[in-house]
Amino acid sequence: MSDLHLLPLDTLHHRLGARMVPFAGYSMPVQYEGVMAEHLHTRASAGLFDVSHMGQLVLEGDGAAAWLESLAPGDFKALAPGRMRYSLLLSDDGGTLDDLMVTNTGSHFYLVVNGATKFDDLRHMEARLPEGLTLTHCQDLALLALQGPKAAEVMQSLNIRPEHPDIVDVTAMKFMTVGPYLWGDVRLGVSRSGYTGEDGYEISLAATDAEAFAEALLADERVKPIGLGARDSLRLEAGLPLYGNDLTSDITPVEAGLAFAISKRRREEGGFPGAARILAQLRDGAARQRVGIRPEGRQPVREGAGIFAGGRQVGTVTSGGFGPSVGGPIAMGYVESAVAAVGSALELEVRGRRLPAVVVPLPFHQKSHHR
């Protein structure tokens, strides 16, 4: 355990009674009072997540948007200041190296990448970085997420105010917008975004300010700390892929059902890694697809379980567990496109037995975002 990195909020997690586990090279809270209670609290009120293990990168210089477009299929030239986009770092064969959030702050691009892949991402990007652009890994920043239907009320009651007058109040922020805010004299980079399927915010701030800010949030009785366990069940119910499980370097965005991340102009122009293969899949369809799966009965089905149809293996489960808000087992996996339609009957192999299941639409659980 001694070679694990500690989060800026490590002492707070211990004080809150978290069970800590190694994840992405960090000692991270997997749960506090319990996954089920934390999950349901986030859907009913507001949950505070420490996601400081994620990589926060700043890209500066002329031509930054054009260079990002050589790595990922988003239309970053058209990304307006104060807006963010979900995107994918692609390999030359169209496989997914990571999924990430790209923000145009107005003065630079701010990227958030997965914790487990951030050093690989940095190597990938630095090896391709041209003269005139600088890429900075902001290791002195923390990243918190406040998620749930009461997140906006909580933010409002902390008297978080816009850093300049042309920025809207936090409660008026639209989904996938970003801005600089102040809590007292503490600077916050706030976005209306998250990975739980709930309304909420992600807040970037100096690691040295993180504990005071987290404690101020937790002092509000509507807020509870939420661990990685519930983060995983929340994102699974929301139908969101987890990099390393549902997205890997072998999987293209089209196969993953993430074609929305390939902007219209990029589809027309190409010029992103793996464009030939990805554009062909967009035109002709992919041989396999990510689908939502509801196992019948109560038994959870985990990642790695074989998916069968007509006695033949047609795919593999990539994420699976119990959905506390759904009230039953849920899973995602890749299947041959012939059996990917909603309603297709499947069988899932668990401990030598085949359990009946059906393809269902994603997400399993839907909440509306603040648009």
Binding site: G34, H39, G229, R298, Q299, P300, R302, F322, R351
Partner: protein, 122 residues
């Protein structure tokens, strides 16, 4: 007489039959239990072999047979209410009863005090 295993099962022995479950410590470690797979009546269990599976929100965990013998009955209430395993693992959350092939196997198990001392080291 109640015995405990290093794998966090408890065994209540009554003559040549035993009732088996998981300990409070195990239930707390597993977290919210959402599914339990119990052995079939008549199944032959071998000490250390797979006996049951307990699934929490996050993961599946094997329950190993603490003793060798044949399954006599299983707690059907757990199918409808797996959370009983969290609420009362050493009582109403019992998992199955079994015959004992060899009472000498009991010597490998711990007393309540020894088990408590063991979990304190974990």
């Amino acid at each position: 007489m109640r015995y405990y295993s290093k794998e966090h099962e408890w065994v209540e022995v009554d003559g040549d039959t035993a009732t088996v479950g998981i300990t409070q410590y195990a239930a707390d470690q597993l977290g919210d239990i959402v599914f339990v797979e119990l052995p079939s009546t008549g199944a032959a269990l071998k000490v250390g072999g797979d006996a049951a599976v307990v699934e929490s929100v996050k993961a599946a965990s094997d329950v190993y047979a603490p003793l060798s013998g044949k399954v006599v009955s299983a707690n059907d209430e757990l199918a409808g209410d797996p959370a009983l395993l969290n609420a009362d693992p050493e009582g109403k959350g019992w998992m199955f009863t079994m015959t004992l092939d060899d009472t000498k196997e009991l010597s490998a198990l711990m007393s309540a005090d020894a088990y408590e001392a063991y979990t304190a080291t974990l």
